[in-house]
Amino acid sequence: MNRRTHPALTVWAWLTYAFLYLPILVLIVFSFNESKFGANWTGFTTHWYSVLFARQDVREAVSHTLEVAVLSTLVSTVLGTLVGFGLWRGGFRGRVPLTFLLVMPIVIPDVVMGVMLLMFYAIVRGLLERTGWTFENGFWTVMLAHVSFQISYVALTVRSRLAGYGRELEEAAADLGATPVQSFLQVVLPLALPGVLGGALLAFTLSLDDFVVTYFTSGSGFRTLPVLIYTAVKKGVTPDINALSTLLVLFTVVMIVLANLLSRPRKEQV
């Protein structure tokens, strides 16, 4: 059989990739441009990267971003893994609707998600008024907002990792004297681990990159990197922001590649 690809298809494929990646390439290239303004190439420099690291607001945004990402990832990984395990295990009613509900945060537009959470926090604040206890939008509201969409990604990754294994593995563990907890820790978790780690990396990346939901839930004083970039760009595109964006893109790419390697479907067993 002739499996050779038609040349036109090859060209088409390259055009598609160019469409996707040229803007990113431009961004990366211009983060090394000497000129402070516009699209003229005047020479190579790493000057903007040092400018970037000297800025106090950037440092602060980096630490905010990492704090939110780390904590939200930890929380969502634990919860999402349990949800994924439950979905794989089945044996309860409503498995199908639950799976559907899990997909919702993934498909709902970010803006809707942001508005929704903003309203939700306002309502909770209103309810808490009588108790005399209140909270400001900031670290915690952003962190919990991230958890709310990260759980879905972790749960689905864990579930698809476990999908190839039959439930009789749990039965075998029980048969050999393992309590349900022992069975989870010694059999299910080791098997799910690549999916758990992959899901965690994915969640971490999503938290790092999230702009819309963060923008709605962060209040005034709390800025993460994407929010910082957005506010900076409103005043005009500067090369140091190009440099910051380049770093963010590279970091994200590394994370995604790692997540893919880990959550790759296991080799088919004979």
């Binding site: 294994y165 039959g166 009789e168 593995l169 039965e171 075998a172 563990a173 029980a174 048969d175 050999l176 004297g177 393992a178 309590t179 349900p180 022992q182 069975s183 010694q186 059999v187 080791p190 098997l191 080799k267 067993q269 004979v270």
Partner: protein, 420 residues
């Protein structure tokens, strides 16, 4: 010996067993020498076929009036087990035999604790198992899919059960090594399950179960995924292992020959009920229902009505004329019955002798299977099947297409089935 009592299927199976015994003698012997803790009753290590064994009077497992139904989405109930009542004796090799969907696997899963009976009770080792979860039952299971833990090596798979019991160190190592030796996979301890063949995985699954020295070993069609030759070999090994260990085996299978060859007793199940329970010989020679008669081997079924009953037997009026059977217990004149006779018990003859119980038939088709010729015969518009052993297919026992023959139905081989 009367030719009518010859059973080619069983004999062939037994020949294979003796043949295969050459391979497994060493295997069972090794285990006995090295392990003084797990020793069955003293006997020779060579497989003995199905010589009758003394079975303990104690029940290892009692199933009392177990009923189980599945509910579908519409709330409709489908019974899968109806009033199952049986005792399995200590040290017995007991088989649950039946077609798929007969409830045999469900019964096994109830014994293991993976599923609960709707009503009735299961008693294992004298203790009522109601409400006791799988991980606290004194049984171990060999799964049809083996269910080996893919992330653990063979040795760690086998060690899993002992580790849960808190066994550590040298004791753990020794017992795992011994179990792995017993099932002859000593060289594969460090491999992962996906690096093993089907037969090797089966052995690991077996080692993982027996290392725990359970009171009862449950086997859910453990050989069904293997090719025929390997299956035959493992049948012998399993039967030998069972004798050596003295553990009660409950073996689920849909393969009648497997059950006949290995079991002390067999329960034939159909549609959630036990149709008949007994030793292999009893089930084969005296099937009680048409289902058993045709699930274990094959049978010619002849409908008729009882004409007279005497202490020597009964006379049954059939389409072929009156046929005499030696059975008479519980029969009444005028009763509608079905007679069953095994194809290998029909005697084909050329000359008309006048001893009665003869049917004129025409040879319609001949199937040559090597060990025997299978004749499809037509008599009075009904199909009959007769098997003739290859040894008898000689100068004058070789019949031809469309030949008219006389079929002799020995009265002792005509079994009266229970209607229903």
């Amino acid at each position: 010996m009367e030719r009518g009592t010859h059973r080619p299927e069983l004999t062939a199976a037994r020949h294979r067993l003796y043949y295969n015994a050459l391979h497994v003698e060493d295997f069972a012997g090794k285990f006995k020498r090295e392990d003084r803790r797990i020793t069955g009753p003293s006997h020779s290590v060579v497989f003995k076929g199905k010589r009758v064994r003394e079975l303990s009077a104690d029940a290892a497992v009692s199933v009392v009036d177990v009923f189980k139904a599945y509910r579908n989405a519409g709330g409709q109930e489908t019974p899968v087990l109806r009033d199952i009542d049986l005792d399995i004796r200590k040290g017995e090799f007991f088989s649950l035999l039946g077609p798929s969907g007969c409830g045999k696997t469900t019964l096994l899963r109830i014994l293991a604790g993976f599923e609960q009976a709707d009503s009735g009770a299961v008693v294992i080792g004298g203790r009522d198992m109601t409400g006791i979860p799988a991980h606290r039952r004194p049984v171990n299971t060999v799964f049809q899919s083996y269910a080996l833990f893919p992330h653990l090596s063979v040795a760690d798979n086998v060690a899993f059960g002992l580790k849960q019991k808190g066994i550590r160190g040298q004791d753990l190592k020794n017992r795992v090594a011994r179990a792995i030796e017993t099932v002859q996979i000593g060289d594969f301890g460090n491999r992962k399950p996906d690096q093993l063949s089907g037969g090797q995985r089966q052995r690991v699954a077996l080692a993982r179960a027996i290392v725990n020295e359970p009171e009862v070993l449950l086997l859910d069609e453990p050989l069904s995924a293997l090719d025929l030759k390997l299956r035959k070999q493992l049948q012998v090994e399993l039967a030998n292992l069972q004798e050596t260990l003295g553990i009660t085996f409950i073996f689920v299978t849909h393969d009648q020959e497997e059950a006949l060859v290995m079991s002390d007793r067999i329960a034939v199940m159909n549609r959630g009920r036990i149709e008949q329970l007994g030793r292999a010989e009893d089930l084969y020679e005296r099937p009680r229902t048409a289902f058993v008669a045709n699930f274990l081997g094959s049978s010619n079924l002849i409908p008729g009505r009882i004409r007279e009953v005497t202490p020597e037997g009964a006379l049954v009026q059939t389409d072929f004329g009156p046929l005499r059977t030696t059975q008479h217990a519980g029969l009444m004149p005028g009763q509608e019955v079905t007679l069953s006779i095994r194809p290998e018990k029909l005697r084909m003859e050329r000359d008309d002798e006048t001893e009665g119980n003869e049917v004129r038939a025409r040879v319609d088709d001949i199937v040559y299977t090597g060990a025997e010729n299978q004749y499809l015969l037509e008599a009075h518009g009904q199909r009959l099947v007769a098997f003739q052993l290859n040894a008898d297919i000689g100068a004058d026992e070789d019949f031809d297409y469309d030949e008219e023959v006389a079929l002799y139905l020995p009265p002792a081989s005509l079994v009266v089935l229970e209607e229903g």
